[in-house]
C-alpha cells in the first residue's frame, strides 16, 4: 500500500497531473477517511464496552476528531492534497448521507425486500416446539399453512441445510437465529447446540430478503405501457411546460413592472411576491379546497361568468391543467423577480441609443431586452426543469397522483410523475410497501434524469463553462 503513496522525500506542492493525479488524490483521501473511520470504530467499540449506555453515534464524533488530527498530518506529508481539503467536508457529507443510502438502495433494487419480506421472523406462523436433551434437535408441534417443515421454512434445499430457524423463549422479545443442519419429519437438527439457559417455547421462520436478480426491472418493463411510459411522458411534459409557462408569465410581469414610470410598482411587486413567500405545504393544500368542483371558489367565480363547473381535480386531463395552473401560481413570482433583477443589469444607455435611432418600444424589447435576458435565464430555466422533473410536493399535495385513469397501474395514475410513482410503490397503501420495486424505479429515474440533464447541459454549454 505504501508504494502507491508519493514518497515523502518528494514533498512537492505541485499535484501529479492527469488521471493519475485524480486517482492518487482519491486514494489519499480514502486512506485518511478510512483511517479516521477505523479509529472512530475502534474507539466507539471501546466506549461501548466501558459504557454500555453510550450512544452509537459516538462513532461519528470519534471519526470527526480523528479526521481533525489526521488531516494536518497528511497535509504535511502530501502538501498538494491541501487543495482537496476545501472539498473534503462537502465530500464526507455527500458520502455519508447521500452516497451510502444510494448504495443501499441500489442493492435493494435486486432483492425482494418489502414490508412483508423484511428479513425478520414472522410472528403469524409461530408454532410451539420442544428441544431435545442434547439441545440440538428441535421438534415442531405443527407446521402452520404447510405440509412439511421444508415448505414451512421455505427451504432452498430439501434438507434445509444452511437455512435458518428462529427460536423464541416464552417472552419472545429476543429471537435467536439458529442454523439448520438437517430436517427429518418435524424434527429439525441444528448445526450447533442451543445456548444453555435458553428455554425454548416457540419457533418460527424468517421472511427472507432474497436476491432476485433483474426481476424488479423485468416487472417494470413488462408493465411499462401502463406505468413507466405514460408517467415518463407526463413528467417530461409537466416539467417542460411548467417552466415555459412560468417563465413567460414572469417575463411579462417582470417587464411590465420594470417600467420606471409606473406608479406604485413596489406595491404590486410586494403583493405578487406573496405566493412565493408562503410555504408550498400550506398553499397547495389550500388549492385542493379551492379547486373543488362543487364547493370550490374557482368554480363559483366561473359560475358568475356563466361557465359550467370545470372538473378541476376529477378529470385526468383537467387535473393536469390544474397542476400547471397551481404551479404557475407558486412559481411566477420567482421568475418575475429573476426578470426584474436581470433587467437591472442591462445598461440603460443601450435603450437610449436605440430610441435615438428611432426604435419603438417593442423593437427595443425584441432586440435588446430579450437577447440579454437569455443569458440570465438559461441557468434558471435549466434548474427549474430539473427541479420540476422531481417536483413531488405539488403532485402529492394537490392530486396525490389522481384522478384514476383507466388502463393504468394503481400506483401510476393520471397525474403521477416518476417520483410519486416510486413513492406510491414504496410507501402508499396502493403499493404494499414494495421497497425493492421502488428502489428499481429510483434507479431508472436516476438514469433518465442523468440522460436528460446531459442533453440540457450540453445544449446550454454548462460543461465548457465548468471546465474552464
Amino acid at each position: 500500500m505504501t508504494t502507491t503513496l508519493p514518497l515523502p522525500a518528494k514533498r512537492t506542492s505541485v499535484p501529479p497531473e492527469g488521471t493519475r493525479g485524480v486517482l492518487m488524490a482519491i486514494l489519499v483521501l480514502a486512506l485518511v477517511l478510512g483511517g479516521a473511520a477505523l479509529i472512530g470504530w475502534l474507539l466507539a467499540g471501546l466506549t461501548a464496552r466501558a459504557l454500555p449506555s453510550a450512544p452509537p453515534y459516538m462513532i461519528l464524533v470519534y471519526t470527526v476528531a480523528a479526521l481533525l488530527v489526521l488531516m494536518p498530518i497528511t497535509g504535511r506529508l502530501v502538501p498538494w492534497i491541501a487543495n482537496w481539503y476545501y472539498l473534503f467536508p462537502a465530500l464526507v457529507f455527500l458520502i455519508a448521507f447521500t452516497v451510502l443510502p444510494i448504495i443501499l438502495t441500489v442493492n435493494y433494487a435486486f432483492t425482494n425486500y418489502s414490508g412483508q419480506n423484511s428479513g425478520n421472523p414472522d410472528s403469524g406462523v409461530r408454532t410451539a416446539a420442544t428441544l431435545s436433551a442434547d439441545r440440538t434437535v428441535v421438534t415442531l408441534s405443527e407446521t402452520p399453512e404447510a405440509d412439511s417443515v421444508q415448505a414451512y421454512l421455505r427451504c432452498k434445499v430439501a434438507t434445509c441445510k444452511g437455512d435458518t430457524l428462529v427460536l423464541l423463549d416464552a417472552d419472545a422479545s429476543s429471537p435467536v437465529r439458529a442454523r439448520i443442519a438437517s430436517v427429518a419429519g418435524t424434527a429439525v437438527t441444528l448445526s450447533a447446540p442451543v445456548a444453555a439457559g435458553f428455554a425454548l417455547s416457540d419457533v418460527t421462520r424468517i421472511n427472507r430478503i432474497e436476491r432476485i436478480g433483474l426481476a424488479n426491472f423485468q416487472e417494470i418493463f413488462a408493465k411499462a405501457s401502463s406505468a413507466l411510459w405514460p408517467v415518463f411522458l407526463w413528467t417530461v411534459i409537466f416539467a417542460f411546460s411548467t417552466v415555459v409557462i412560468n417563465g413567460l408569465a414572469g417575463l411579462i410581469l417582470g417587464i411590465l413592472l420594470y417600467n420606471k414610470r409606473l406608479k406604485g410598482r413596489n406595491i404590486y411587486r410586494t403583493l405578487l411576491f406573496l405566493p412565493w413567500a408562503i410555504p408550498a405545504v400550506i398553499s397547495v393544500q389550500m388549492w385542493v379546497a379551492l379547486f373543488n368542483q362543487q364547493f370550490g371558489i374557482v368554480n363559483k367565480a366561473l359560475g358568475l361568468l356563466g361557465i359550467i363547473a370545470v372538473p378541476w381535480l376529477n378529470d385526468p386531463l383537467w387535473a393536469k391543467v390544474s397542476i400547471l395552473l397551481v404551479n404557475l401560481w407558486l412559481g411566477f413570482p420567482y421568475m418575475m423577480t429573476a426578470t426584474i433583477s436581470a433587467l437591472a443589469t442591462i445598461n440603460e444607455d443601450l435603450y437610449e441609443a436605440a430610441s435615438i435611432d428611432g426604435a419603438s418600444r417593442w423593437q427595443q424589447i425584441q432586440s435588446i431586452t430579450l437577447p440579454l435576458l437569455r443569458t440570465a435565464f438559461t441557468p434558471i430555466l435549466l434548474s427549474g426543469f430539473a427541479f420540476n422533473f422531481n417536483n413531488f410536493g405539488i403532485i402529492y399535495l394537490l392530486t396525490a397522483g389522481g384522478p384514476a385513469q383507466e388502463g393504468r397501474e394503481s400506483t401510476a395514475q393520471s397525474t403521477d410523475i416518476l417520483l410519486s410513482w416510486g413513492y406510491n410503490t414504496a410507501f402508499a397503501s396502493a403499493g404494499g410497501q414494495n421497497y425493492s420495486l421502488a428502489s428499481a424505479i429510483a434507479l431508472i429515474i436516476f438514469f433518465l434524469t442523468l440522460a436528460i440533464s446531459l442533453v440540457n447541459f450540453k445544449a446550454a454549454g454548462v460543461f465548457e463553462e465548468a471546465r474552464k
Binding site: 499535484p15 497531473e17 485524480v22 488524490a25 453515534y57 476545501y86 472539498l87 462537502a90 457529507f93 455527500l94 448521507f97 452516497v99 443510502p101 444510494i102 438502495t105 435493494y108 417600467n259 409606473l262 403583493l271 411576491f273 406573496l274 413567500a277 408562503i278 410555504p279 405545504v281 400550506i282 393544500q285 389550500m286 379546497a289 373543488n292 364547493f295 371558489i297 363559483k300 367565480a301 359560475g303 358568475l304 361568468l305 356563466g306 359550467i308 363547473a309 372538473p311 378529470d315 385526468p316 383537467w318 391543467v321 423577480t337 433583477s341 443589469t345 443569458t375 440570465a376 441557468p379 430539473a386 417520483l419 416510486g422 421497497y435 424505479i441 429510483a442 429515474i445 436516476f446 434524469t449
Partner: protein
C-alpha cells in the same frame, strides 16, 4: 452560404452582418402555429371531457356572465382612455412638455391588468385566513341563494357569521411561558418593529450612516434573542392535552432544524464552491460533475435506506439525524451557486492578498468570505426555507409530537384517518407562514440578487 466567413476568418471582435435564412425567419411563425394548434387540440379535448357535465345545482349561475365581464373590462378601458386623455392634456398644459398619449394610456392599462392579476393571485389567500376563524373545520364556500347581495349569493364572499378564535385558542392551549422568555419575545418584537420602521425610513428618507448602524444592531439583537428562545424552549412548557397545542413547539423545532441546516449548508458549500471556482488541480472538473450528478439520484426514494442508516447511527428521532440528512442533500446546489458568485468576483483582490504573503486559506477567510455576505445570506435563507416546509423526511425520521416540525404537524391535520381539520390547519398555516413571509420581505433584496447570481456574470 459560402460567402459567410467561418469563425476563424473573422477579425477579432469583428461583426459580420448575416441575413437570416428563410427557415430562421419563419421559425417564430412556425413555433407560434405549432403552439396554437397545440392549444386548439388541448382545448378540444378539455371541452370534450366536460361535454356531458350538467349545470351544478350548488353553484349560482349567471347566464352569459362573461359577456357582462367583457363589457365591464371594455367600459373600464374606455374610462381609462378618457382619463388618460384628460391627464395627458392637463399634464401638457402644466409642464409645457409634449407627453405621448399612448404612453399614458399604456400605463393606465398596465395598472388595470396588474390589479386583475393581483386580485387573482391574492384572493385565494383570503379564504385560508377566513377558514382559520371558522370553528366548523370547513374550507368550502356555500352559496346562500336567497341573499340579495350577489357576492354572498354566489358564495364568493365567505359567510362571516360563525367566526371565532377557537382554532387559535386550540393552538395555544396550555402553553406556559416563563418571564424571561416573554422578555426575549418582547425583544424580538421590538427588534422587528425597529427593522420595519428603519426599512420605511430608508425607503422614503435618505440612507444615512446612522440608519445602517441601527439596522445592524436591530438585526443582531433579533437573531440573538430568537436563537436564545429557540435553544431554551423545552417540551415540558407545553402542558396542553391535544397535539395542536404543541404548535409553538413545532415552530421552535423547525427553527432549530432549519437554522442549523442553513448554517451547515454555508459551511459545507463555501469551501467547496471556492475551490471549484479558484483552485486548479486535477480532479476538480470530475468532482464538480460528481457533485452535480450524484444529486440527481432521487434520494427521496432511498428513504428506507436513510432510515436504516440513522438507526445504525442511533440518530433516529433526533434533530441531529434530521439535520444531517437534510444537509447531505443541500451541498450540490449551494456549491454551484457559490462557485458562480466567486467567479464573478475580480481575481485581482485575492492576488493582491497573496502577494502580501497571505496563504490561500487566509485569502479565502479574510478576502473572499467578507465579500460574500449577500450570497451567504441567500444560501442560508434558501436552505432555511426549503427545510422549513419539508414534511416527508421529517415524518419518517421523527416520531412523537414533541419532535414534530411544522410541516409534519400541518400534514397531520389534513391526513387524519378520515376527517380533515381545515380550521386548525388554516390557523396553524397562517401562523406558521408568518416567519417565512417575514424572512422573504425582510431579505427581499437578497432573493432578488441571489436568483440570478448563479447565471449572470460580468
Amino acid at each position: 452560404m459560402t460567402a459567410v466567413p467561418t469563425p476563424q476568418q473573422l477579425p477579432p471582435g469583428g461583426y459580420v452582418h448575416k441575413e437570416p435564412s428563410a427557415l430562421r425567419r419563419a421559425a417564430p411563425w412556425l413555433v407560434a402555429a405549432a403552439v396554437i394548434t397545440g392549444f386548439v387540440v388541448l382545448g378540444y379535448f378539455l371541452a370534450r371531457n366536460m361535454a356531458d357535465n350538467q349545470k351544478s345545482f350548488t353553484i349560482y349561475f349567471v347566464e352569459r356572465g362573461w359577456i357582462r365581464f367583457l363589457l365591464f373590462l371594455l367600459a373600464a378601458s374606455g374610462v381609462l382612455a378618457l382619463t388618460s386623455l384628460i391627464g395627458q392634456r392637463i399634464g401638457m398644459a402644466r409642464t409645457g412638455r409634449k407627453i405621448s398619449y399612448s404612453a399614458v394610456l399604456g400605463d393606465q392599462l398596465t395598472h388595470l391588468f396588474l390589479i386583475l392579476v393581483v386580485l387573482v393571485a391574492v384572493y385565494p389567500l383570503l379564504y385560508v385566513l377566513i377558514a382559520a376563524f371558522d370553528p366548523r373545520n370547513s374550507l368550502f364556500a356555500f352559496p346562500n341563494f336567497s341573499d340579495p347581495n350577489i357576492l354572498y349569493r354566489t358564495g364568493l364572499l365567505p359567510n362571516l357569521q360563525v367566526l371565532s378564535f377557537e382554532n387559535y385558542a386550540a393552538l395555544f392551549e396550555g402553553v406556559t411561558i416563563p418571564g424571561w422568555q416573554l422578555a426575549l419575545a418582547v425583544v424580538v418584537g421590538a427588534a422587528l418593529t425597529a427593522l420595519l420602521i428603519l426599512a420605511l425610513m430608508g425607503r422614503f428618507g435618505r440612507e444615512s450612516e446612522g440608519i445602517t448602524k441601527a439596522r445592524t444592531w436591530a438585526m443582531r439583537s433579533l437573531i440573538a434573542a430568537l436563537a436564545l428562545l429557540v435553544m431554551f424552549m423545552v417540551p415540558s412548557q407545553f402542558t396542553g392535552q391535544s397535539n395542536e397545542s404543541k404548535f409553538l413547539l413545532s415552530v421552535r423545532n423547525t427553527l432549530l432544524v432549519s437554522g442549523v441546516t442553513g448554517f451547515l449548508a454555508i459551511v459545507l458549500s463555501t469551501t467547496a464552491g471556492y475551490a471549484m471556482a479558484r483552485l486548479r488541480f486535477p480532479g476538480r472538473f470530475q468532482m464538480l460533475l460528481f457533485f452535480i450528478f450524484i444529486q440527481m439520484f432521487p434520494v427521496f426514494l432511498a428513504l428506507v435506506a436513510v432510515y436504516t442508516l440513522m438507526v445504525i447511527l442511533g440518530l433516529v428521532n433526533t434533530f441531529t439525524g434530521l439535520i444531517l440528512a437534510y444537509s447531505g442533500g443541500a451541498i450540490a446546489f449551494n456549491t454551484w451557486i457559490f462557485k458562480g458568485y466567486v467567479e464573478s468576483l475580480p481575481e485581482s483582490l485575492e492576488e493582491a492578498a497573496m502577494v502580501d504573503g497571505a496563504t490561500r486559506w487566509q485569502t479565502f477567510i479574510q478576502v473572499v468570505l467578507p465579500l460574500s455576505g449577500g450570497i451567504l445570506v441567500f444560501i442560508f435563507l434558501n436552505q432555511f426555507i426549503g427545510t422549513y416546509a419539508e414534511f416527508i423526511l421529517a415524518s419518517i425520521l421523527m416520531t412523537g409530537v414533541d419532535q414534530w416540525t411544522v410541516g409534519v404537524m400541518l400534514r397531520s391535520f389534513t391526513t387524519g384517518q378520515f376527517s380533515t381539520k381545515w380550521g386548525i390547519f388554516s390557523a396553524a398555516a397562517t401562523l406558521g407562514a408568518l416567519p417565512i413571509i417575514a424572512l422573504f420581505y425582510g431579505f427581499q433584496g437578497y432573493f432578488v440578487g441571489g436568483t440570478v447570481s448563479g447565471g449572470v456574470k460580468e
